[in-house]
């Protein structure tokens, strides 16, 4: 009895205090700027994936000033929590919502149906509606270039790759990287370890350590943080970064890396939305658009390697031939015949490794 009474009192006290709070004046907004919101899977402090999206958000603020208001929420779990957060933004009158993880796709798709007047932008997925678009970049372009660097600089012909999920996006990145590695070093192999997480500093580090224990001398990755790079550096190994210019956060052991550059896309999309020019789309830009880049080189990368990369980069910008044949699959069978190139659709559904990858894709 008494314990229940106590709980009643706690509840009453809570309500009472909130009523007091509710009587306080609310700050009024003079004008209503265009509202945008970003939903992040990790914190901007991951120095990787979310850091780059948030840099794009800051570029939006710098571009539009008071005309656009940006807000973000970090560390949002995939699944039911994401649906709650996205719905809450839509209900609060946000005009454009950017969801920046693959796993938010179904949640956003579900909420988008309820709010036809809100614009939903999902990064890296494939489901669209009249008011829901997707956007992503051809990260395989700079991944291939970074493979040229890794293949040139490995001394043991074994490179480790810490990979998040066995989905086409990641498989495509591993394959592009491996094609680059093998173009300069046909004896080298790329060993893959799956972490089944985008953002988990501890798991990412453990996977890198396991690969280093297996004898690789360069670590590449498809994760959200700098932990694999740090693990490599601590063991005296080199690495290829991802997402951001990780050399700035880790040091010269990061040779280079494929990086994101979202700002221009965010600015263009928001401008279209403000001018009512926005239409649903599936954006997939490459090196030629500048949405993906190869980061600056570490001083450790010799000039002949840089020259080789520069030539290849120009070739990709002029004519994207990363996934053009002949390409052999991991089991030795022909994946792309000579003179043929994979279609966008085939690339977006890639589910086998190329020759030179050591690892399995769970089927």
């Amino acid at each position: 009895m008494m314990r229940r009474r106590m709980l009643m009192l706690v509840a009453l006290a809570l309500v009472a205090s909130l009523v007091v709070v509710a009587c306080a004046p609310t700050p009024e907004e003079d004008e209503t700027p265009f509202q945008t919101a970003f939903v992040y899977i990790g914190p901007p402090g991951d120095m990787g994936w979310t850091y780059e999206h948030d840099r794009g958000r800051q570029q939006v603020e710098a571009e539009f000033g008071d005309a656009v208001e940006t807000t973000y929420i970090e560390n949002v779990e995939q699944g039911p929590d994401a649906a709650r957060v996205i719905r809450q933004y839509a209900q609060q009158g946000v005009d454009v919502i950017f969801a920046t993880s693959f796993g938010y796709m179904d949640s956003m798709y579900e909420v988008a149906e309820e709010f036809p007047d809100v614009i939903f932008e999902h990064c890296s997925g494939y489901r669209t509606r009249d008011n829901m678009a997707t956007y992503f970049g051809r990260m395989y372009h700079p991944r291939y270039l970074s493979g040229l660097v890794a293949g040139s600089m490995t001394e043991v012909n074994s490179i480790g790759f810490v990979a998040a999920f066995p989905i086409p996006e990641v498989i495509r990145g591993i394959n592009a990287f491996t094609l680059g590695v093998r173009d300069v070093n046909p004896d080298a192999e790329v060993r893959v370890v799956w972490t089944n997480t985008w953002y988990d500093p501890v798991r990412e580090r453990e996977a890198a350590v396991a690969l280093l224990d297996a004898g690789v001398d360069i670590i590449a990755q498809h994760q959200d943080t700098t932990e694999p790079q740090k693990a490599a550096q601590e063991r005296g190994a080199l690495s290829i970064g991802y997402n951001s210019d990780m050399r700035a956060f880790v040091g010269d052991t990061v040779l280079t890396g494929p990086v994101w550059n979202w700002g221009a896309y965010y600015i263009d999309t928001i401008r279209d939305a403000m001018n009512s020019d926005w239409q649903t789309h599936q954006y997939w830009g490459g090196l030629e658009d500048g949405i993906v880049l190869l980061a600056d080189f570490s001083p450790r990368v010799p000039q002949d390697v840089r020259d080789r990369v520069a030539t290849a980069q120009q070739a990709i910008i002029e004519n994207d031939e990363v996934f053009c044949g002949p390409i052999l699959a991991q089991d030795g069978s022909l994946m792309v015949a000579e003179g043929e190139c994979m279609s966008d659709e085939a690339m977006l559904n890639m589910n086998v490794f190329v020759e030179g990858v050591v690892g399995t894709i769970p089927q």
């Binding site: 009643m8 009192l9 509840a11 909130l18 560390n75 779990e77 039911p80 933004y89 989905i167 089944n196």
Partner: protein, 372 residues
């Protein structure tokens, strides 16, 4: 050991009134200091949190959505803690419940009449949760293995196993992760947005447990075992049997939480099912003083704090870490207030002889031995 998690025989009326009020005032004050240090106006922040949780149908619906697993796991933990069995494994039991409910709905009910699929799924969830708690219970009852460790470690096993299922074995073709949707006949119906009828399982169970604890011999036995295991043994209470029975029920309730999460909310086994409800449940059970009806209140408040907490980022533009620290700031004084009362009684008294005040571990061992 001057401290015991044991209820005092009588608590002064003054303390009952003052402790929670003072605790709550201290909570708000602590939170306000933290907010001011982060550069936010505490009044505006508290207002935004309240508005986020209760200011719209959507907010209220989401509070109910979060309440459901919190009530069920809270009850699950409370029933085990009543007899001083430290079941830290509600998270794993919930996860196994979700796994089994999904398995039953998708695979194991092939050929059964469609109306049986929902009850079968719920039953499968309960059984899986019960078995997941039953293993530590049997180890405790027969070999006196520390249940804190076994229940905790089994959480990791359960979560990793469920990941293996929805990333590999049970993954729906064409999806990155997650199983197929369960058939619609197994869905719990929704109201007010996403809130679902799973809430009634929680409310009904809380009432039933309250009645059991209050009016049945078994409820009385749990209380005696919890407050003094040796005395319980002298009274002829079979402690080993009670450990196993209670934990089967405790685990089944957590398993039910996982089952209704799948049938009512996610409708498939996917990411975002194990998000720490089983650990929050420990806080809830303590704040509710292990009272089943109290669990409902505290779980609801906790859900409101979680849902309202979104606003710390969305409206106040503070980082997520500030939200987590604020939630902790609000909870610690409330928890400390309740526990302080419990501790203080035994702090005053000189310790009794070892035989009477002996820990439950030793008594459990003896009881287990006596059983053979």
């Amino acid at each position: 050991m001057p401290f015991k998690f044991r209820k005092r025989e009588s608590v002064s009326r003054k303390a009952v009134l003052l402790v929670p009020l003072l605790s709550f005032a201290v909570s708000l004050l602590f939170g306000a200091i933290m907010l001011i240090l982060s550069g936010a106006d505490p009044v505006v922040t508290y207002l935004a949190m309240f508005g986020g949780a209760f200011g719209s149908t959507h907010g209220l619906s989401e509070v109910l959505v979060k309440s459901i697993p919190l009530i069920l796991t809270g009850l699950s933990v409370a029933i085990a803690f009543r007899m001083r069995f430290w079941n830290i494994g509600a998270e794993g039991q919930l996860t196994m419940g979700a796994v089994a409910a999904t398995g039953a709905a998708l695979f194991w009910s092939q050929g059964w009449p469609s109306w049986t699929i929902m009850p079968l799924s719920i039953a499968a969830g309960c059984i899986a949760g019960g078995l997941w708690a039953g293993v530590p219970a049997i180890l405790k009852a027969t070999l006196n293995v520390d249940e804190t460790l076994t229940t905790l470690m089994l959480n990791y096993v359960a979560v990793l196993y469920s990941e293996h299922l929805y990333y590999v074995t049970w993954r729906a073709p064409g999806r990155n992760s997650g199983t197929e949707r369960i058939p619609q006949v197994a869905w719990l119906s929704r109201f007010l947005g996403r809130a679902h009828t799973g809430i009634f399982f929680g409310l009904a169970l809380a009432l039933v447990l309250w009645l059991i604890f209050r009016y049945t011999r078994w409820g009385f036995e749990l209380k005696i075992i919890g407050s003094n295991a040796t005395a319980a043994r002298y009274m002829g209470i079979n402690i080993a049997r009670n450990i196993i029975l209670t934990l089967l029920i405790s685990g089944a309730i957590s398993g039910l939480a996982g089952a209704v999460e799948v049938l009512g909310l996610t409708r498939s086994l996917q990411q975002g099912i194990s998000v720490g409800y089983g650990y929050t449940a420990i806080i809830i059970a303590w704040m509710a003083q292990l009272d089943p009806l109290g669990v409902i209140f505290v779980a609801f408040l906790m859900a409101a704090l979680l849902v309202g907490g979104d606003q710390i980022q969305m409206r106040m533009r503070l980082p997520a870490s500030v939200g987590i620290v604020l939630q902790a700031m609000l909870l610690i004084p409330m928890l400390a207030g309740g526990l302080f009362r419990d501790y203080s009684l035994h702090w005053e008294r000189p310790p009794k002889t070892d035989g009477v005040a002996g820990s439950m571990q030793a008594d459990g061992m003896e009881a287990g031995g006596a059983e053979d």
